[in-house]
């Protein structure tokens, strides 16, 4: 296959490996070779891959914490403002503002906002949804969600050069290497 076909440009290289173990090995090598913009694709989360690829911990937990705090605070404020401040009403001779009665709602709000943050936060950080990724153009890549273990190295990586990188991948035991092409914008 050759680059520069009309409207197409090289996006990167796709390499397939036989097993998670081989993939792990390969990833360690690629990481040590100093590649930056590359990725591995597996049908299920393979343990140790983060380490092998050198992925840093995500900030998601912190976002969720903020979400939770916002929920708790919001829940309490809502109840205090509506029942004790905006329209204070005498209910069962209870004080206008008594914490015990307000715990459940505050708690549920905490959970709700944390959960929503976790969900949307995850997709946002993953830049998902992304419907047209060049990898999808590869028939082989469709096995990535079934039983295929892949590595993609993108062309815009400073260390990327077609021959060298392809060499490297093959040397790491890739059962197949193919070019990924992308539309020109």
């Amino acid at each position: 296959m050759s680059a520069g076909a009309s409207g197409r440009r090289l996006f990167g290289l796709l390499a397939e490996f036989r097993s998670p173990e081989e993939l792990l090995q390969a990833c360690r090598q690629i990481r040590d070779a100093g590649y930056r913009s590359w990725d591995a694709h597996t049908p299920f989360p393979v343990h140790g891959l983060e380490a092998a690829m050198g992925i840093r911990h995500t900030v998601l937990p912190w976002l969720v914490l903020c979400g939770g705090l916002a929920g708790a605070l919001g829940g309490l404020l809502l109840q205090w403002w509506t029942n004790a401040l905006d329209y204070p009403l005498i209910v069962s001779g209870k004080p206008l503002w008594s914490l015990p009665a307000n715990i459940p709602v505050a708690f549920e709000m905490t959970i709700l906002l944390s959960a929503v943050t976790a969900f949307f936060g995850m997709f946002a950080l993953n830049r998902l949804p992304r419907f047209s990724h060049p990898a999808f153009r590869s028939a082989r890549f469709r096995r990535a969600t079934t039983d295929g273990f892949f590595v993609t190295i993108e062309a815009d990586d400073p260390r990327f050069d077609v021959e060298g990188t392809e060499q490297l991948l093959r040397s790491l035991g890739a059962s197949a290497v193919e070019w990924l092409e992308d539309e020109e914008d």
């Binding site: 209910v91 069962s92 001779g93 004080p95 008594s98």
Partner: protein, 1012 residues
Amino acid sequence: MSSLSGQGAGKAYWRSLEDLAGSVELRALAEREFPEGVAEEPATSRRDFLKLMGASLALAGATACRRWPVERIVPFAHRPEGYVPGEPVQFATAMDLAGAATGLLVTSYDGRPIKIEGNPLHPSSLGGTDPLAQAALLELYDPDRSTAPLRIARGQQIASSFEDVERFSRELFRQLRERRGEGLRVLSEESSSPSLREMRSRLLRALPAARWHEWEPLTRDAAREGAALAFGRPYRSWLLLDRADVIVCLDADPLMTEPGAVRYARDFARARRAEGGRMNRLYAIEPALSITGASADHRLALSRAAVALVAGRIAAELFLRCGLPLPGGAEELRHALERFERHPFRPPLVTDIVRDLLAARGRAVVLAGPGQPPAVHALVHLLNAALGNAGRTVAYAPDPDPERESHAESISALARDAGAGRVEALLLLGGNPVFDAPADVDFAGALGRVPHTIHLSLYVNETSRACAWHVPRAHFLESWGDARGHDGTLSVVQPLIEPLYDGRSPIELLAHALDDGVTSGYDIVRRTIAPALGGGDFEKGWRRVLHDGLLEGSAWAAETPSPVRPTWAPALAALAEADPSAGPGRVELVFARDLSVYDGRFANNGWLQELPDPITRVTWDNPALVSPSTAAELGVGTGDLVRIRAAAREAEVAVFVLPGLPAGTMTVSPGYGRRAAGRVGDGVGFDVYPLRVGRALWRAEAEVVPTGRRWPIASVQDHHLIDVLGMKERGRRAVRLIREGTLADFLDHPGFAKQARGHEGELPQLYRPWSYEGHKWGMTVDLSACIGCGSCTIACQAENNIPIVGKREVARGREMHWIRVDRYFSGTADSPEVRFQPMTCHHCENAPCEQVCPVGATLHDHEGLNVMVYNRCIGTRYCSNNCPYKVRRFNWFDNHRGLGPVEKMVFNPEVSVRSRGVMEKCTFCTQRIEAARAEAKKQGRPLRDGDVEPACAQACPTEAIVFGDLNDPGSRVRRLQDHPRAYGVLEEIGTRPRLKYLARLRNPAGSESGRA
């Protein structure tokens, strides 16, 4: 807000209606408000009125894009002087029931009477009312009332007109006059109206050969005859219970069913509060379980026949043993009394009664009820005379109508003559003899033999259908009239509204028939009362009578007749044969007055039909009551249909097992099983009139056979057959819920009621209780005073637009009454003790209902009312589940659907009409609080104690319910809540109720400290 369409429809519509009503009705009203004005009836006819209403109805239907129907404002063309639209006004009038009137004040709102209350000035009321008076309002607006004269031939009803009626009657009477009235008969109900008596004498003067009959199914003739026997001529007697320390009721029910009962109840209750350590003592010996019996200190259940034994026994003890002087030449009487002494049956209580009677000479009273034979009444009169009670605790006045024959004789004579073809024309002024005449009088058949029959009646009832002419009768709230109270006090019956349907009052009908010049009721009444008003400015006196609702000092002059030689002794002696125990299979059938439908005339009144019987708590029915033992003997239980055979006639009735009835008796109340009562009353309950014969109207020997079939009975308590476990618990709780002690207990430890409670003093509070500055509304109910009559329930229903739900819904536990009177039994099944407890919203300061409402539809306001905001309610019913008193009511359906324009006129515009799906409950009549507040502001003064009186408290005959401001140290309610007898129901669960009860006191013989 979308609820509006639902909630609005009812009220939105008739808010415009009320203006309409005003526009036309008020002209009439205004004249009555200022009677010196012209006296003619207003020109505008009802038809335009209805036309207009129709119009506005149509418009109301046409809803534009707005959220609720377009409303019309229909102002007066000519607004009466000083009349302010939308401001309620009160007028005095009176309601005559079977010859005794109760003075009333009727609240009118834009020309619509919307609430009936007792007239505080009237001696028969003193402000209180019985349920019947309260419910008369609904009768006024009953759409089933007849709307036009009818010509009836062979069952065909042909619409007619008053012109026809008058043409016919004028012609008829012309012919009659030629024959001096030969063949004319008039049958009227018992009435106290002087005008009617006046018209009667005019008729008899004009047509001397005519004859006047009188029939009252629940007649009190026995008492009248008894007096005649005792004193040689008939006397009316009435009680002065406030002066009686000892009351002995022989099958009598002075607190509920005697004329003047409302007044009696008040006098009685005043002496039940143990003020100054004094309390009266009530003995009741009775076959049925009456209201009086329920409040008695000692009650003895005996068959109606056996009551005479007790009477005789008491007399024997007093006259033969205790040396009470027998009237001269009473040897026969002595012999009669000796026979009572010899009778094997030894009734209990007699020694106590005798001792008390002797100790309280002149301060005691012995009473016999309408069900007792004349001889017993005579004996009772004799006793009262001998004990010096006559004139002190019981007053006598000559009967205003001395020469009339007894009702039973009268109607059978009429039937006889008619049957023999001696009657040409019969004019029936009200009544329903075809339904309620004695079974041995074939009245329907007799009617058939009379060529000309005219029936004046509110409804086209059984009798109307058997007559040739039916003439709609004007309701007493629609027509002029007059009446006398139980003590003879004269009142003018003043109309509150134009006749909704054309109608005539009896006096007007007679006037037209006789066509003497004066034909308007208004003039007739003025003519009758003129002499009574005496000299001076007639108009002034007349205005005063209208304003006060009575003529000052017009009561009968009481005298103390002296007994004549007791020729009736043999009759009495005959009673000594009675055998208190009936044979197997046979029972003594006891006829008792039904507290809802009276003799059947109120059968079409939904309020009364749904008002639970105080004792059985049964609605929409008149089951035959038997004691558990008798039920077992007959092999029947509650809800079983039995066939009763008496006097060769049969009736099928459902059985209801009730403790406290004498073995071998079965109590039935006539008036149900109507066939032509109206949509409400038809086919409700069982007709037992067929079991009643003229010579023995009140008791019969009957044979009872189970049919094996069942009948659903809708009782508001014990909705279902209750198991042993539940019954045990109910008994245990009753004594804690309704605390009770003897007078002696109270005098020894006044706080006995509080000590009965688990916790002593204030419960600890988790939160600092809310402090209520300003007003702090509260209520007390004195269980010592409450006799369980149920007036509060109906008064509340009328005041607060409470719907009627019908038998089926009641059976499902969905009745809507805001205030109910719980009834508990304690003690044994043979001689149970009955306890009543009016139960309504307690307005708890820590209201359990409030905190659970998700939308805050029920809350406290700053005066401590537990307010229910219907328009916010979404109907989760959580509040009701969480209410320990179960006083909240839920609108399971749209209970006002399908109400006609006239039916809707009964609504109180000051109270929202609740839509489907919302909770409702007692508001302490917050609308009355607001009204009083506005009035006080207008007068620039603070609210005073007594300014605010909820409907229940106002109607209560015994002043058991007291309402007021707990922050006002001088208020009655404050004093009562601090009273040693005060306690709160379920206080121990921390609700802090604003409604407190005063423990019930009883004064049984033996607690001698009771008599100071």
